[in-house]
Symmetry: C2
Subunit: 329 residues, 2 copies
């Protein structure tokens, strides 16, 4: 079995015990189909299989490629593309139960023309992104049904609440979201109310399924929320240069990390800046060229999307290596 | 021949005419080996072949994978890894002329043990990253020679000057860098002085070769410098949702763009924010679902690194599709 010292750096690592604890904690809180894991966070069918083995056999996706990859991996029992598409033909070609979000006549028409059978009416619940006005949900559901589509219910993603540090503030926003979802669901009918994410996973009362994804691996942004999940994802680097001026340089650059949530962290060090293939940082204790460091990503999703593979590690041992096979579009 | 309307979005595009103009402008300014194109900016052997066809047959890399890929593509005539590595065995295994940057006894030892033949002494010329103190260059060159390595000369990268908007300020910093390079070169000997980048490509006087890469494709950050290169790189997106509140949403998210230089731009629109797979923006004129938009990346290098392929386009026609085959590590 390979060890950490055998790995070329930068190398993406998942701590096996932290992942296992995160998956079990969530499976206890939201068992089975109550959780519809969002695969955009990890883009990895091997990890999705772990989630399925714990009882979550329905999944959420953000891209058509993610849906295709899950179906090809035998995980297509009930896959939701929680996003609007204007060309749904690749979805319609899949031999699987695929549901797509719609928020307009154009996206409904695309689903019908593309050969998709089922839709959720996507509501704008406060984040200025996709989703119809809640008052428009019934009209769109009628339109979808008239176009021959099965309307399975409603969804709404409260991204504006997800990373707020104060739980009470998140709860208050979710209460508002819940009201909108419940009203639209009453108007639309059927059985699905899909919502939420890692930051609000235990705050939903009317949602039938929660679309959390980041909980499995976590990042420094979510770590600030006091959730019962541990940071399982890091990037292993090698110190390639040191300076008498107190800084060191490792080979984990911004092409190995999502940068939109700000700089990633290094234990016992102040991170100065990232370049394409470098991080310059001031370690508390002197470091030498060849030393290894762990960089803790600030945003799990775009970090995973940069790497071809991830190593699952138990201490110094690499116990599995998984392909990040749902990348691209 | 496919057209833009045939492409799945998000799709990375290179404007053929802009690329051609950029390559020719640079080849006229720094002909042949005076330019050592940095492939980290595009990670694409097809584009490197274009550079080679214009006379630049020596290349700069930031990762071992980039070196391996160039060599496999028959572009290994003289490849510089302008970065320190502590395990050089993959470089030593290549049947090509490979030179690696060294800045310490440890990186020299790694080159020797790894079977690399040639090194450049990497100087810290003001950017707190890799590179030895200039006064230490002679000692390291002696050490490398004693270890059986060919010392080809010196290099230094003035990344701190690269994106400064004022040309005079950049020139003043390059003058300081030049002094350091010249002194170290005198002490180290041999024939290479490698330095510079797109922002300083025409400011170097002692550099024998300039390591520019971004000039070929450009981005919104470099566009502010008034350089004689045009933005050739964009990401084609589809409007997937619109709102009566004046914003629209397209399917070009932060997983399709480098985010470290801030948000990318959309013509005739105010960009509000990026999510993993979305951009929310306020267009000056109303848009409809299904409309196409062009997003102009803020940073070319990490944008290329997210995409599997790039389409070279002439107006609405896709004239070539290139694999971005030097990604990963």
């Amino acid at each position: 079995m390979p060890s950490l010292t055998d790995l070329t750096t930068p190398a993406l690592l998942i701590d096996a015990a932290a992942l296992d604890a995160n998956l079990r904690t969530m499976a206890a809180a939201l068992p089975g189909a109550r959780l519809r894991p969002h695969v955009k966070a990890h883009k990895c069918t091997a990890l999705a299989r772990r989630q399925a083995a714990l009882g979550h056999r329905t999944f959420t996706c953000a891209t058509i490629r993610e849906v295709e990859g899950l179906v090809a991996a035998g995980l297509g029992e009930d896959v939701l593309l929680a996003n609007e598409v204007l060309d749904a033909r690749r979805l319609g070609a899949l031999d699987a139960r695929v549901t797509v979000a719609v928020d307009s006549a154009a996206s409904i028409e695309a689903a019908a023309v593309g050969g998709v059978d089922a839709v959720l009416i996507d509501l704008n619940v406060g984040l200025p992104r996709c989703g119809c006005e809640p008052a428009d949900a019934e009209r769109l559901a009628d339109l979808a049904r008239a176009r021959g589509l099965t309307v399975r219910g409603v969804m709404g993603y409260e991204g504006h609440a997800m990373l707020l540090p104060d739980r009470a503030t998140r709860a208050s926003l979710v209460a508002d979201v819940t009201e909108k979802l419940a009203a639209a669901h009453a108007a639309v009918g059927s059985d699905v109310v899909s919502a939420g994410g890692t930051g609000t996973f235990d705050l939903h009362t009317v949602a039938t399924d929660v679309q959390a994804g980041s909980y499995a691996l976590m990042d420094t942004a979510y770590a600030k929320l006091g959730l019962p999940f541990r940071q399982a994802l890091s990037v292993l680097g090698t110190v390639i240069s040191t300076s008498t001026q107190g800084y060191a340089v490792a080979d984990v650059g911004l092409k190995a990390l999502g940068m939109d949530h700000g700089p990633s962290a290094i234990d016992d060090a102040a991170v100065w800046f990232f370049s394409d293939e470098h991080v310059t940082f001031a370690p508390r204790r002197p470091m030498r060229a060849g030393d290894r460091v762990r960089v803790w990503p600030a945003h799990v999703d775009p970090t995973m999307a940069y790497h071809e593979r991830v190593h699952v590690v138990d201490g110094e041992r690499v116990v599995e290596t998984w392909s990040i096979d749902l990348r691209g579009w």
